[in-house]
């Protein structure tokens, strides 16, 4: 009887002495990279990392509404700055972890640019520009190229960049404006064309990370945050198709 009670006490006391897990909120374009990063980090430290993904705007709204995230890996610099200003994040913890690259991707069309011009060539998939920085960059690029008005009638909006890629990968959309980092997915069909959109043709896809206020007392979160800035992590990020600022 007493042994049982002791066991119960031990059972409930256990999580308190165990290492705290880290929960990170990751913009969809970075999901595969974050998964690899967290696996590496867990192998190194034994700390469990839980990865939650979605569009940057959606995660931002969730954080404002009290979502239990420790680190936010955004697809822009704007929302981390807002979180810092509103006190939802640790001051001065913002840094650029990756520089995103926008690409055209098509499963069936051999000439990506021709598809954009051809009004009869089917749907164009982009991420929702309201919530996804890659979607906004796509609209900026198409507007700058002077074809947004023509293309907009053929545009379908993915809830996040992962869905935009899915629309293009399944052939439901003829072409997608997606993140270069998504092209490494092993389950993706072989593209008929890909084309890197020049970085100068849309606003900067500077992706910033920030330590959220909730993580201030979580040592594991701090360690993961430090790991993100390590050379080891930066090498993984680069391998996934991102540019890095020195």
């Amino acid at each position: 009887m007493r042994a049982g009670a002791l066991f119960l006490v031990a059972l409930f006391a256990w999580p308190a002495v165990a290492v705290e897990p880290v929960t990170i909120a990751v913009a969809s374009n970075f999901y595969a990279t974050a998964t690899e990063l967290s696996t590496q980090f867990s192998d190194d430290t034994g700390i469990v990392v839980r990865v939650s993904n979605g569009s940057t705007g959606k995660l931002y709204a969730q954080i404002l509404n009290g979502a239990p995230f420790d680190v936010f890996l955004s697809a822009d610099a704007e929302r981390p700055a807002l979180l810092e200003k509103s006190g939802h994040a640790v001051a001065d913890s913002r840094f650029t972890y990756a520089q995103g690259v926008l690409v055209l991707w098509s499963r069936d069309a051999t000439d990506c640019l021709a598809v954009l011009q051809d009004a009869n060539s089917g749907r164009v998939a982009i991420a929702n520009p309201e919530t996804a920085p890659y979607g906004r960059a796509a609209v900026e690029y198409l507007s700058g190229a002077g074809i947004w008005n023509a293309v907009s009638e053929r545009v379908v909006y993915g809830e996040n960049i992962a869905q935009a890629m899915q629309f293009a990968a399944t052939g439901n959309a003829t072409i997608g404006l997606v993140a270069k980092s998504q092209l490494r997915a092993p389950q993706l069909p072989e593209p008929a064309c890909t084309w890197e959109v020049p970085a100068s043709s849309h606003s900067n896809l500077e992706q910033q990370a920030i330590l959220l206020a909730r993580a201030a007392a979580n040592n594991s979160a701090r360690r993961f945050y430090d790991f993100l800035r390590s050379d080891e992590a930066r090498e993984i990020v680069r391998r996934h198709g991102y540019e890095l600022t020195p």
């Binding site: 709204a61 089917g122 919530t131 545009v155 379908v156 629309f167 399944t170 052939g171 439901n172």
Partner: protein, 221 residues
């Protein structure tokens, strides 16, 4: 984004879907209420599946079936030149599957409660089977028929997950009110989300209350 555009689109979707479900759901309900085939449980299960399945399962299958490579989608592309996914027509097909049990089940229950002898009497008086159905079966089962129609309509109005997967969020084409509200919440535009949600809430209440008032009056008679 205006308030009524997505709302009106949802109403249109619900109206077209309900109309189609009355046409195909009523014979199914009647047949199910009278059949003695041993396959009846299997067919009933198929009709009821959308109640149990998560919208993601329907959305996933529809994305494959209705897409340009899909069995239905490729045929539709040859016929019209357009894909079914990301189109209003595609949403109508999705909604018909999604809301089918909500139309069929109340009608079937009402038809099952109708004794055969009423119909037999009509037949002996020279009425055709179709005539007997419309002048005897439908009026006597009106509560069930109305419930089926209202539930199919209301359920389509509340559709979200399937549309999120096969709609593509196109204004005026597939951005129905539930998707528009989701977008507003995601972008922290709570004022617009409140306006649309309240409108939908009031509308749904009026439709359902109307149905219950109708059914009570019928019941009292």
């Amino acid at each position: 984004m205006n308030l009524f555009g997505p709302f009106w689109l949802s109403i249109q979707l619900a109206l077209v879907t309900t109309l189609i479900l009355v046409v195909i759901g009523t014979p199914i309900a009647w047949w199910l209420s009278r059949t003695t085939t041993r396959w009846k449980p299997a067919i009933q299960a198929v009709v009821a599946l959308p109640i149990v399945l998560p919208p993601t399962v329907l959305g996933f299958y529809l994305l494959i079936l209705l897409g340009p490579d899909g069995a239905i989608g490729s045929w539709w592309v040859r016929l019209t030149g357009d894909a079914l996914t990301f189109s209003f027509t595609g949403l109508v097909i999705a909604s018909c599957i999604y809301s089918l049990p909500f139309a069929v089940q109340p009608m079937q229950t009402a038809f099952e409660a109708l004794p055969d002898r009423y119909l037999e009497r009509a037949w002996t008086l020279g009425a055709s089977k179709l005539d007997a159905f419309f002048s005897i079966a439908v009026p006597m089962s009106l509560q069930g028929v109305v419930s089926g129609v209202v539930l199919a309509f209301a359920h389509t109005l509340g559709e979200f997950g399937v549309v999120l997967m096969v709609g593509g969020n196109i204004p005026g084409e597939t951005r129905v009110v539930s998707i528009a509200i989701y977008d507003h919440v995601e972008t922290l535009n709570y004022a617009a989300a409140h306006r649309m949600s309240l409108l939908l809430l009031a509308f749904a209440f009026v439709v359902l209350a109307g149905m219950f008032v109708f059914n009570r009056r019928r019941g009292a008679r």
